[in-house]
Symmetry: C2
Subunit: 105 residues, 2 copies
DNA sequence: TGCTCATATGCTAATATAGTCATAATAGAA
DNA sequence: TTCTATTATGACTATATTAGCATATGAGCA
């Protein structure tokens, strides 16, 4: 399904991943997200829009503020799994490097 | 971690998702992958290279053929979760549409 | 109303990505 | 060696994505 690809592609950006991570403990205002991820306000706003479009996050207005949260906790699981895959791969590479050193030295 | 974002971004392409799905039952030769996903050989080769670079798949040569497989089964779980998120979202939208129709009609 | 804070959107330039076509590289067979 | 089959790579074009800046929108307050 193409929509699944869209979801993964949208999650596949460092800043958006950072935003999703920051929302893990619970909902947050944009004014909290912006300093937390260390990017310009307009940039964060656009990334939030992308995350909204694919349904990863939702938002509501509260006075002048906008509060965002992650709709589906499975999004966190996806992030966790991605990190697991990466760290297993890094561990393999480290092991391989150690073997190479053992043969050389 | 940026590498996790890379992984998700690479998985986030319809054709690459299709390739990963096709490899779910087990390893396959490029000459099987190409017709299965219905894309040009050079295109498939480049997408396989991307999947290799982020460590989703690995390959070995067998005579003139190259056999690919998915390194880490967690990649399948990521695909499954992405589809789950999408289908839950679609179900929500359908439910919402039904409510709208109920109010209107 | 006029002002300020918070957020979103338009526009532009830089960069990245994807597909197409041609060709290179490699292995095996004749 | 020459031919063929299989896969990978390079050049090019088209399109998409991203960030930065300016500005619009909208809510609440003076």
């Amino acid at each position: 399904m193409d929509l699944a690809a869209d979801l993964l592609r949208v999650l596949g950006h460092p800043l958006r991943l950072k935003i999703v991570e920051f929302l893990r403990p619970g909902e947050r205002c944009v004014c909290e997200i912006v300093p937390a991820v260390g990017a310009e306000q307009s940039v964060v706003s656009k990334h939030l829009a992308l995350l909204r479009h694919v349904g990863v996050v939702a938002c509501r207005k509260e006075g002048p503020r906008v509060i965002y949260w992650v709709r589906d906790p499975a999004a966190f699981t996806i992030c966790d799994l991605a990190r697991e895959v990466v760290s297993r791969r890094l561990a393999e590479l480290a092991e391989l490097a150690a073997k190479v050193r053992a043969v050389k030295g």
